[in-house]
């Protein structure tokens, strides 16, 4: 989808704009063959099946997000879900029920080019078996308008590891990708040690970062921590997304990693989704954060 107007201006005009946070974090490279700009939407951590005081509208929040994404005009090229589609359950039948219900709700999205990966809530208790029944592979790659996208699974191993086999696949995938192609990685847990005290890390994430480091333009989008976070490892930018169920506290800001309480005066505060505009064939990305419904921050 070619954008002929600045999306930030467009969104302000449309009354949909959230907080404009950042742009160009991956750095600008010299212009090559011009590719059409495009954008995609990142949704994360819906935790379908969760019930509790941190979100009294747990069953209504995901449908609201679907409705909000459906209002985006022009629509995104594709939508990615960066894990924890469902809230964990010890019952395999209930896990499949939740995955099925989630799939039924997001079937309402107008955009049909969807990409999925599991979070530990979806996959860590059965090594991703139920997730794969509904959504297919847990790691893969694809190309879109001059950008190479890689989905990494760091949750199907309950120890939070990518694992040697997948790292070998990553090395092979990168080896087959043109050296000048921008790389975007989608994953669930942070690939760096954001706050290991709360398990906000990937045990062998540094090995993946080492494989990615020789590439000039790499950007990582992830979930897991239920809040925006922006971090650099060398020239690699890592961006965490908000969740669609409850926000979590800033890393280390309190003793326990417990959800922030629901604010009845500002419902859905801290929840939302992200739009990522790829400019100049993925040489730069502009991020824009959206609430799940208008008026929420």
């Amino acid at each position: 989808m070619e954008h002929t107007i600045d999306r930030r201006d467009f969104l302000k005009l449309a009354g949909l704009g959230g907080v404009v946070f950042a742009s160009g974090l991956a750095g600008w490279a010299s212009a090559g063959t011009p590719e059409k700009d495009f954008y995609f939407v990142q949704l994360s951590d819906a935790h379908w099946g969760f019930e509790g005081p941190p979100n009294p509208d747990a069953r209504g929040t995901l449908p609201k997000a679907v409705a909000a994404v459906n209002q985006l005009e022009p629509p995104p090229d594709f939508i990615v879900f960066t894990g924890d589609l469902t809230h964990t359950t010890d019952d395999p039948a209930e896990r499949r029920k939740r995955l099925g219900e989630f799939k039924g709700i997001i079937d309402g999205l107008k955009v049909k080019d969807l990409h999925f990966m599991p979070g530990e809530h979806d996959a860590s208790l059965d090594h991703g078996a139920a997730f794969q029944e509904f959504f297919g592979d847990t790691h893969y790659s694809f190309d879109h308008k001059g950008v190479h996208f890689i989905v990494l699974d760091n949750v199907s191993d309950p120890a939070g590891r990518i694992g040697d086999a997948q790292l070998a696949w990553l090395a092979s995938d990168l080896g087959k990708t043109a050296a000048n192609l921008p790389i975007v990685v989608f994953t669930h847990r942070p690939l760096f040690d954001l706050y290991p005290q709360w398990d906000w890390a990937t045990r062998d994430g540094a090995a993946a970062v080492d494989l990615l480091m020789p590439r000039a333009n790499v950007t990582v989008f992830y979930g897991h921590i239920h809040q925006e976070n922006h971090h650099m490892t060398g020239h690699i930018a890592h961006h965490a997304a908000r969740s669609l169920i409850y926000p979590l506290p800033a890393p280390g800001s309190q003793q326990k990693r417990t959800p922030l309480p629901w604010d009845a005066a500002h419902p859905y505060r801290g929840l939302g989704f992200r739009e990522v505009a790829a400019q100049q064939a993925g040489q730069a990305f502009e991020l824009q954060e959206f609430p799940v419904q208008r008026g929420a921050s």
Binding site: T88, D90, P158, A159, P196, Q197, D199, K256
Partner: protein, 121 residues
């Protein structure tokens, strides 16, 4: 004569060195603590462990149900905790404070609350 003196000095020196190595090691053994930690979904027992700074401790972990992990990021150490066997981890805390530990192997619906605290004084 000179050779004999050198031999005696060598023997004395070796004995002294051996003693100097043995005494601290012996003292360390006397001071070393053993802390047994039992894990079950979704708790550690005990979940608060008090240690003395500079005193070595050996943890002995057992799981009463499923595989779990003990992770103490502030000291950069971890251990698997497996059902039916004992795993050990040795640590000498070199600083005082409160240091959280947690289970780092996803073990079920209460996994995210499975944590504890080491207090070093």
């Amino acid at each position: 004569m000179k050779t004999c003196l050198q031999r005696r000095l060598f023997v004395l020196g070796t004995a002294a060195a051996t003693l100097s190595m043995l005494v601290p090691a012996s003292a360390r053994r006397e001071q070393e603590r053993l802390v047994q930690v039992r894990a079950r979904r979704f708790t550690f027992e005990p979940d608060e462990i008090r240690l003395a700074r500079g005193m070595p401790v050996t943890f002995e972990f057992t799981s009463l149900d499923v595989p779990m992990g003990f992770n103490l990021p502030d000291f950069g150490v971890r251990s698997d905790i497996l059902p039916g066997m004992v795993t050990r981890l040795r640590l000498t805390p070199d600083r005082a404070g409160q240091f959280p530990f947690h289970c780092d192997i996803f073990c079920g619906s209460g996994h995210e609350t499975m944590s504890g605290m080491i207090v070093v004084t």
